[in-house]
Structure formats: structure tokens, C-alpha cells
Amino acid sequence: MQTDTTTTGHVATGAAQLPQVTEPRNPGMALDMDWVRAAQANTSAIERRAGSLSGRRSLKKDHQAAWMLKAITCIDLTTLSGDDTAGRVRRLCAKAAHPVRADILDALGVSGITTGAVCVYHDMIEPAVAALQDTGIPVAAVSTGFPAGLSPFHLRLAEIGESVKAGAAEIDIVISRRHVLTGNWQALYNEMKAFREACGDAHVKAILATGELGSLRNVARASLVCMMAGADFIKTSTGKESVNATLPVSLVMIRAIRDYYDRTGYRVGYKPAGGISKAKDAVTYLTLIKDELGDRWLQPDLFRFGASSLLGDIERQLEHHVSGHYSAAHRHPIG
């Protein structure tokens, strides 16, 4: 077990975003192949549901502003670049702690808005944890040979341990896509279970890399297997695949989450990542979550956006809401 005091210490600061604050963690269950094999996903029907969603739900005025603020609190503000430095990460963390200009928040009558987490590579955990000291914002680290997940298995497990030791409260693992593509569900289950155990008290988000799984049915089945193996969150993408988060994929994954909750009573979180950069899209995602999963999932302990540029668009929309004038990017501090 890779648990260490850094992690628990961090959790103890009381970050509202962390699932165990209010929800019992998903302990997982035995692999139920009958259930996995019975999972279906009709692509065209799912696309129609996803396609009509933005026409069925519309948020206006104060409601739109409030929902956009909610979206901010669900953002895993992310930098996953080869040229990341401690300085760059500190800047990002500062933005995570103060994502919206104070005068805008004042005008909206809200305070204490932060992003859900900051998400970085392993080597950036320490500067991030240091920068976020006393903010309550957890640090998430991508792990297990992110993004391809093809490094030696023992090294992937060790990477989790190192990241947890370094202070990451959340570990975003990548699954071995080949297990899905070859229908080796037992191998996927075993891998996920090992990752979960390696995480200890840190929360584990299972990145399915849905853009590489070939079909929505595979997405549904992989979602179930990862939850059975104890994932706290399931997540669409690394952001590095050619197709990242989409509404149809999200629909499939959250329906799997709903089924898992109905059968086990455990709520697993959901994180779409990559490609969500517009405030309007973020609100559409939230309506999808509200209508398909329910209000309980509209909190950062059960829902996150993996996004880097979404915040900027929301800031501009919020200023427009407050001022009545369309805003400009340079009016908002960068991260």
C-alpha cells in the first residue's frame, strides 16, 4: 500500500472536492461478466439524444451565470506539457485559487470559488502541492505511463506510489486499451484493481481513452469493468487522443455510472476531458449530468472537467453577464 502521511495530511485540510468527505468510496466488486457482456450502446440513438440535448435545455441570465460558476468549481485546471516548469505550475495554481476576477464575483454575490483541482504530471506535483498549500485545492497527477500506458506494469504501479508520496490526492491512471480491444475484461479488471490498491487513500480516476476504444459498446463495458475494480472516477480521455470528450461518449459513461449506483449503491464520479473549451458546452455537459445522473453528481466530488482553456471562456461570459458587454480575454488574468 502506498498510503503515506502527506496524502492523508492533505485530505485532512478538508477539500470539499474530495469524494470521501460525503460519499463512501466505491470499494469495487467481483468482476460480473454477465453484466459486462449485457451492456449495449446503440450509437445512433445515443448520438440523437446527445444531439438534441442543447435544444432541450437552456440556461438564461442568473441561472446561466450560476451554472457557469459551478462549472468552474468542477474544473481540473490542467497543464500536461513537456515544457512545464515549477514556475509555470505555480502560476496555474494561483489561477486555480482565484479563477475569476474579484469584482466579477462581487457583482455576482459569490465568494470562495476555486477550481476543482489542479492536474499535472508527476514531476510537477511538489511545486503544485506547495503552491496550493492552505487553499484546499487538491493536486491530481496523471500516472501509469500517461498517456499511452505502455510502460512496464511494475513501473506504472511504482509511478502511482511515487505520485501519492509526492502529495497527489488524486491519481488519473490510463487503462491498457489493448485489454478492451481484445475483449480481455479480466485483464482490465486486474490492472484497474492493482492501480486502485496502489493509490491507497488517493482517489483514482480511470482514463478510458475512449477515442481509442473503437465503439461505444466498448466504452460502456470498460466503464463497468473499471467501476467493478474500484475506480472512484471514470474519465474519458487523456486529451492526447485524436478524439477526446464528446457528449455521446459521456452519455454512455454516465449511464454506466447510473447502473452501477442502482446495483451497488456507490456513486462513482465522472470526468470528461479534452475538447471542452466553451462555456456553453460546459453548461450543456452539466445539463446532461443533471438530467441523466441527477443533481448529486453536479458537485466537484463527483464531477470534473479536464480542461485548460475552458476557464478563460467562462470568465469572459461571466463578465458579459455582469456588465452587459462582450468581454475580451486580456481583461482576465492568465494562469
Partner: protein, 782 residues
């Protein structure tokens, strides 16, 4: 609520569409409308109010058309028709294109006005109705363009009276007007009393498009106006969409008048979910099936038939989905279910549901507005096919449910209805889905989808859901007729007994042919058949009700014929031709003896050729894959109509019989044919040919007797799917009137003659009468 409160509760807020532009448009008309006749709006006459059903607010007053108004509209349409039809197709195409463009330019105004007048959610009028309206005009602009080259043998019917319902006011207008005017007809259209406003806005865009005056006329009012249209002598065609009850009245009213008729009526469409379906998607499909337009949809998937093993889980998930539906102000952009069209409709639905004490009723717990015509989404499970609510159309947001065990049982339950409009099948197994779809008695089947519509895909029903198709090439059959003039039919009387009879010693008694057996008439009566020269040729039985009953039973028993391949049917038709050819001289002699003419040999030769023609067609009357705007296919499959009663032409004793029976059986129908009344013996000889030709028993049944005595029984038989009358006796009125019972299809001659020996005697026209077009939508994708 503050932003902070909303941030905590994450509730939806109001997202109202503005009614401003629509209200301004109404103000510009002083909220008072006349009629659109001869290209002009008339001064308002005796008026009635049209209201917003969500609020009760009066939107405008609209004119109740008088009989004189209808007269003026028909006169204007008649005056315009000749010139309109003579325009080159390209000229009409330009007008339809202009209408399509104008619908798009005024899309928002149309959508808002529709929602205000009808109560449907603005999302639906904005995202579904109005785009489909534009699509329909674009598509039929193309049809007008292609008419000259692709339909050279068809021409416009003339003046069309069109009566449309309130559930899709503008869309149904488009479905009616676009194909009609594309083909060169002119129209007098009556929108529903509850929802006249978008039709009146459409009148305005007809003016903006510069449409020649009189091509489109719009008369508003109640059912009396509809009656005036239906009974108007100078109208050539009635197209009606609405209730089965009114459709039946119209069928009777137009019987024997020579008017063409298409009816798109009610339904109780099955929605079948197999245990291998994507259940969540099937449930979402139900939202589009029964909670679309408040369930006020003729093809609504209103009968849920779910496989027993998954039923409980399915119902639980469905109830959870219902909990999330939002009912309320239809002008709100976040509303799933709007207002019913009128308090009368609310009262009807409430009464029907309250009258049932069967099953478990679940009402979605969504709050309803304090005022207006709102009914909660409702699910009634645990019903059986014998429950009233499983049989009767509710036309509201009420889903009824039962379970099945096997695919066969699913089909049996699905088809256990008087209706046959649409059906939905959910299964991830392509073998299962594509096996079930053809077995469902319906004009439209959606596989893993529901309520999909497109101008290229035919829409329409079978059984008591009506007849005729709207959309696609097949839809043009409803607005065109074969080119050319016809002659009045000359009745042929049986030859009377001569003063000096010449009787052969050996008695020959022709029997009837029922279920593959020679049968004596149930009546026990016969009549002699005399040659013009006074020779007794034999006796034939006088057919009666019971013989029709027996023959129809036999035809139903031969249902396996409808499942045979075209290749097999072709072989049997060739074989019949071969066996007839072998006895050509005998048949020629018989014909000559009966008619006293000398063309028997030619008639036999033509009959052999005709059998060859339909043997050829048996495996060549192709369906189509329609280019609908979706990833998937919409298959237009030609299916047999079922059991057809056919009154054969009197003047061509053999060729007339062959000309009706051959296309019918080539397409897989079973036939009860009534032989030429004056010259019946060629038909009764013909059954000996059938007996030696491997035709299964019951596929063709041949009766004899006076047509007029049998017509009412045949046309009134509730298990006969179509009746054709090409009799020398004019049975058109009797047949069409009696056909109203089960709204069977009819093909009557309206006392016009046809040259059975020429090209008008065979071909696609008959094949179209012998088939139903079933549109099977199969969206796909992995």
C-alpha cells in the same frame, strides 16, 4: 433567487422564447383574419376565436367559412388549375423553391406562432416541425422539376380538397400542399379549427412567393367547412389527416363520386423492446415516441411491448426518466412537454384514463402549471391486450404497457389491433430486428429509433390507419393519375334464355373454386349460361354471402403465399401460362361461344402474355433505399396487401380475370375473384388450369354470380384488405361505401371503361394497387 442560491440548488430557470414578433404580426392583422381565396385575403366574416392552450389567451379571431366561401375557393382553384398544370415543371419548381426559402426566412415566426396556437414546446416547432416543412417544399420543388422527364405518363388530378389536423398544423399543411401543387394540382385547404394561424401566415408567404392566384386557397372553420369540401362536386381529390372516425365518414361521403381519396388516420402503434436492446436508448426513444407533442401524434409509440425478463427493470428506469421530464409553458426552451391543444382534449384524455381501473398507473411527479391544458406524462403497466386502453387511441401523453415472451408473441401482440400506422423495434441484433420489421402490420417501422420523418420516405398506414402514402415517389401517386381520356363503361348483360333452346345431352355444371377445391354454391341456386346463338353452354352457381365467407377463409389459410419468394411465384405464373397455352384452342372456342365474337384466340394469347408479364414482374417490382438525411437507410419495401376481393371485367372473360389475378398473386396476395358475370365459363374453366399448375390451395379463389349481389358483402368483409371493382356493373359506390367498415383499400373503375387488351391493361399501376409500401427506418452506426 440569487446567483448563490442557484449555484447551490442547480435548478433550471425560465428560458422563455419571445412572443414579441408573433404578437406584432398578429397586431398587424388586427388579430382578425379572413380567408385566402384566389390570391387575396378576404374581409373577415362570421368569426371564431383561436386560443393559446397554455394560457387560454385569445390570439385572434378567424373566419368561419360559409358554403359560399368554399364555393368561391373551389372556383378559384378550378380556374387556376389548367394553367398551373400546363406550366413546365421547372416553372412550378421555382415557386416551390421560393416557398421553401420563405419558410426558412420566416422560420422563427412560424415556430413561435405554431407554439402559441398549438401548445407544443417551442423546441419541437423550432427544431422539428418547421425544418421538416422547409424540407418538404425543397423536396417537392425537385419533384416538380423532374415531373416532365420522370412521370411523363402521369398528370395532375385537378382540384384537391385537403383537410388537416391540429397536431402538426404547418407540417401537415406542407405534406398536403407541396406534393399537390408540385404535380400541377390546385388546392383548397382547411386547417384545423384549433390551429389556423400558421396556415394564414403561409397564405402570406404564398403572396410573397408570387404564387399564381388560386393555386393555394385556405378556408378556415369547423367540421362543417370540411363537409362542404368533401361533398363539393367540383373537387377531384380529398386528402384527409385526422381521426379514424371522421375518415370513415369521409370514405362513405365520397363513395361512388369518382373523387380520389387518401386518408391518414389514427393509430395505436406498438413499441417493442427486446431484452438485448440498449435499454437506456429505448427509454429515451419513448420520450420521443409518446411524450413528443404531448402524445398527440397519430404514429406515437403508445403501446409498449417489452420482453418479460427485463420488464421490471425497464419500467423502473422508465419511471426514473419520467421524473426528469419538465412539463409547462411551451414557450420555455427547457420544457419537454407542453400544453394539450384544447380543454376538450384534456377532458377526453382524463376521462379515458380515469375510466380504466386496470393495471398500475404512474404519473410523472412533475409540477403542472396552475392553468392551461396540461396532463402529466403517464405510464400504465400490467395491462393485457384485452384492456380497453391497449386498444383505443388515447392521443395524449399516456403510455400503456404489456409484456411478451418470444419474438413470435411480440409480433402477435403488436398486430393485435385495428390500426396499422407505425411500429418501433428495439434490438441490438440485426437478424432479429430485420426479421420482425416486415412482420409488423404497419406502414412505417422504425428500428432502434422512433418518430423519424422525411420528405423522401413514404408515410401512411394500413388497416384502419388509412391508405395512401405521403412523401417520396410513392406519395405522388396520391396526386396524379394516368394521362389520357377514358370512355364510359358499357354494361354487358348476361344473354337471356332463347325461345328455342339448343341443349346438349351431357350436362356440364361449372362449380366455384374455393380453397383449391371445386365447390357448389352455398345458395343451392344456379343459372344457365346461353350463347348468343341460343345454345346452352352450361350452368354456373349463384354465389352468396357464405361463398364469400368461405373463399376469404380459404384465402387467409393460404397466408404462406405471401412469404414465398418472387422467384417461386414467377415460376408458378409461367407454369399457369404454359398450361393455359396448352389449352388455348379450347379456351378460344369457349370465349367465342360465350361472346359470339371471333376474338377468342387473341384473348387467350393476350392472357398468356399477361401471365408472362406478371411472372416477369414477380421478382422485379423493386423497393427502394431512400436517401433520407441520416446515417442509415430508409427502406421502402413492397409488401402484399393481403387478401384482395376482385370483381373481374365483364367484357373480357379470361383476360379480365388474368389481368386482376396475375398482378395480385405475383405480388404475394391471395385473391377472391368474382368471374365475369355475363361470361363466367372461361373463369370456371381456368380453375382447371390453376389446379394443374402447382398453385397452392386458397391463393386464388373463383366465385360466380351477379356482381351487384356480392359487392356489399365483399367490400364490407372486415378481413378483406382490399377490393378491386373492374366490373361491367358500376359497383364503385357500393364498394367504396362498404369499404369504410375496415377502411380497406379500393380500386374501382368509376364506370369508366379500360382497354384490357392494350398497354393500359397491365403494368405498374396494377402492381401499385397490389402492394403496400412499408418504410423501414434503420439508422446505424458503431
Amino acid at each position: 433567487m440569487t446567483v448563490k442560491d442557484i449555484f447551490e440548488s442547480m435548478e433550471y430557470g425560465p428560458a422563455p422564447e419571445s412572443a414579441g414578433e408573433a404578437m406584432a404580426w398578429l397586431e398587424r392583422t388586427n388579430r382578425s383574419f379572413g380567408l385566402f381565396i384566389d390570391g387575396q385575403m378576404t374581409a373577415p366574416g362570421e368569426a371564431f376565436e383561436t386560443k393559446n392552450p397554455a394560457t387560454g389567451e385569445v390570439l385572434a379571431t378567424v373566419t368561419q367559412s360559409s358554403p359560399d366561401d368554399v364555393e368561391r375557393a373551389v372556383t378559384a382553384a378550378r380556374k387556376a388549375q389548367g394553367k398551373w398544370a400546363k406550366l413546365p415543371g421547372h416553372a412550378r419548381a421555382k415557386y416551390l423553391y421560393a416557398l421553401a426559402r420563405l419558410v426558412q426566412k420566416h422560420a422563427r415566426l412560424f415556430a413561435v406562432l405554431e407554439t402559441l396556437d398549438n401548445g407544443k414546446p417551442i423546441r419541437e416547432s423550432r427544431d422539428i416541425d418547421v425544418p421538416l416543412v422547409a424540407r418538404h417544399f425543397y423536396y417537392h420543388a425537385g419533384m416538380a422539376q423532374l415531373q416532365d422527364s420522370e412521370l411523363p405518363d402521369r398528370e395532375a388530378l385537378g382540384v384537391c380538397g385537403q383537410i388537416i389536423p391540429w397536431n402538426f398544423p404547418l407540417l401537415m399543411l406542407a405534406w398536403k400542399i407541396a406534393p399537390a401543387i408540385a404535380m400541377g394540382n390546385t388546392v383548397v385547404l382547411k386547417p384545423a379549427e384549433y390551429t389556423p394561424l400558421t396556415a394564414l401566415l403561409f397564405a402570406q408567404i404564398c403572396q410573397e412567393a408570387g404564387l399564381p392566384k388560386g393555386v393555394v386557397n385556405i378556408v378556415t372553420g369547423n367540421g362543417e367547412v370540411g363537409e362542404a369540401i368533401v361533398s363539393h362536386e367540383d373537387i377531384d381529390k380529398i386528402a384527409f389527416t385526422g381521426s379514424t372516425e371522421v375518415g370513415r365518414i369521409i370514405r362513405r361521403a365520397t363513395a361512388g363520386t369518382g373523387k380520389s381519396l387518401t386518408l391518414e388516420l389514427g393509430g395505436k402503434s406498438p413499441y417493442i423492446v427486446f431484452d438485448d436492446a440498449d435499454i437506456d436508448s429505448a427509454i429515451e426513444g419513448l420520450v420521443d415516441a409518446i411524450w413528443f407533442n404531448q402524445g398527440q401524434v397519430c404514429c406515437a409509440g403508445s403501446r409498449l411491448i417489452v420482453q418479460e425478463g427485463i420488464a421490471d427493470r425497464f419500467y423502473a428506469k422508465l419511471r426514473a426518466r419520467m421524473d426528469g421530464l419538465r412539463v409547462g409553458n411551451p414557450m420555455d426552451k427547457s420544457i419537454d412537454v407542453g400544453a394539450l391543444v384544447d380543454p376538450v382534449q384534456l377532458e377526453t384524455i382524463t376521462r379515458m384514463v380515469d375510466a380504466s381501473d386496470e393495471g398500475d398507473t404512474y404519473r410523472a411527479p412533475c409540477p403542472l402549471p396552475d392553468q392551461g391544458c396540461f396532463y402529466p406524462p403517464t405510464l400504465i403497466t400490467g395491462l393485457s391486450p384485452s384492456s380497453t386502453l391497449m386498444q383505443e387511441e388515447i392521443f395524449g401523453p399516456v403510455l400503456v404497457a404489456t409484456t411478451f415472451r418470444t419474438p413470435t408473441e411480440a409480433v402477435q401482440i403488436a398486430n393485435n389491433t385495428r390500426y396499422g400506422l407505425a411500429a418501433t423495434v428495439w434490438s441490438e441484433n440485426v437478424n432479429l430486428a430485420l426479421d420482425i420489421a416486415p412482420k409488423l402490420v404497419a406502414g412505417v417501422v422504425w428500428v432502434n429509433a422512433t418518430n423519424m420523418f422525411d420528405a423522401a420516405a413514404g408515410f401512411g398506414g394500413v388497416r384502419e390507419s388509412g391508405f395512401g402514402r405521403e412523401g417520396g415517389w410513392e406519395g405522388l401517386m396520391a396526386y396524379t393519375k394516368a394521362r389520357g381520356k377514358t370512355q364510359a363503361l358499357a354494361p354487358v348483360a348476361p344473354i337471356a334464355a332463347p325461345k328455342d333452346a339448343s341443349v346438349d345431352a351431357l350436362d356440364r355444371t361449372a362449380k366455384m373454386f374455393i380453397g383449391g377445391k371445386q365447390a357448389r354454391p352455398d345458395s343451392g341456386y344456379s343459372r344457365p349460361v346461353w350463347s348468343p346463338k341460343g345454345k346452352l353452354l352450361g350452368h354456373v352457381g349463384l354465389g352468396s354471402r357464405k361463398d364469400i365467407r368461405n373463399a376469404v377463409e380459404a384465402a387467409h389459410a393460404a397466408k404462406g403465399w405471401s412469404k414465398t419468394t418472387g422467384h417461386l411465384r414467377a415460376q408458378i405464373l409461367y407454369y399457369i401460362a404454359e398450361n393455359l397455352s396448352a389449352r388455348a384452342e379450347e379456351f378460344a372456342h369457349r370465349i367465342n361461344e360465350m361472346t359470339g365474337k371471333r376474338n377468342g384466340a387473341r384473348e387467350v394469347e393476350a392472357s398468356v402474355s399477361r401471365l408472362f408479364s406478371y411472372a416477369a414482374w414477380a421478382d422485379k417490382y423493386d423497393g427502394a433505399a431512400k436517401p433520407v438525411p441520416l446515417r442509415g437507410v430508409a427502406l421502402a419495401m413492397h409488401e402484399p396487401v393481403g387478401v384482395i376481393g376482385a370483381f373481374c371485367p365483364d367484357d373480357a372473360p379470361l383476360l379480365g380475370l388474368v389481368s386482376l389475378v396475375a398482378p395480385a398473386i405475383a405480388m404475394g396476395n391471395r385473391v377472391v375473384a368474382v368471374a365475369s358475370d355475363p361470361y363466367p365459363l372461361a373463369a370456371t374453366d381456368f380453375y382447371q388450369v390453376l389446379e394443374t399448375s402447382d398453385l397452392p390451395a386458397g391463393v386464388v379463389n373463383i366465385l360466380t354470380g351477379p356482381h351487384a349481389d356480392l359487392a356489399e358483402t365483399m367490400a364490407g368483409h372486415l378481413d378483406v384488405d382490399a377490393v378491386w371493382s373492374q366490373s361491367g356493373a358500376d359497383l364503385s359506390a357500393i364498394v367504396e361505401h362498404a369499404a369504410a367498415g375496415n377502411l380497406k383499400r379500393t380500386w374501382v373503375n368509376n364506370a369508366r371503361a379500360r382497354d384490357w387488351s392494350g398497354k393500359d391493361g397491365e403494368g405498374r399501376e396494377m402492381l401499385a394497387h397490389a402492394t403496400e409500401v412499408k418504410t423501414i427506418w434503420v439508422p446505424y452506426g458503431e
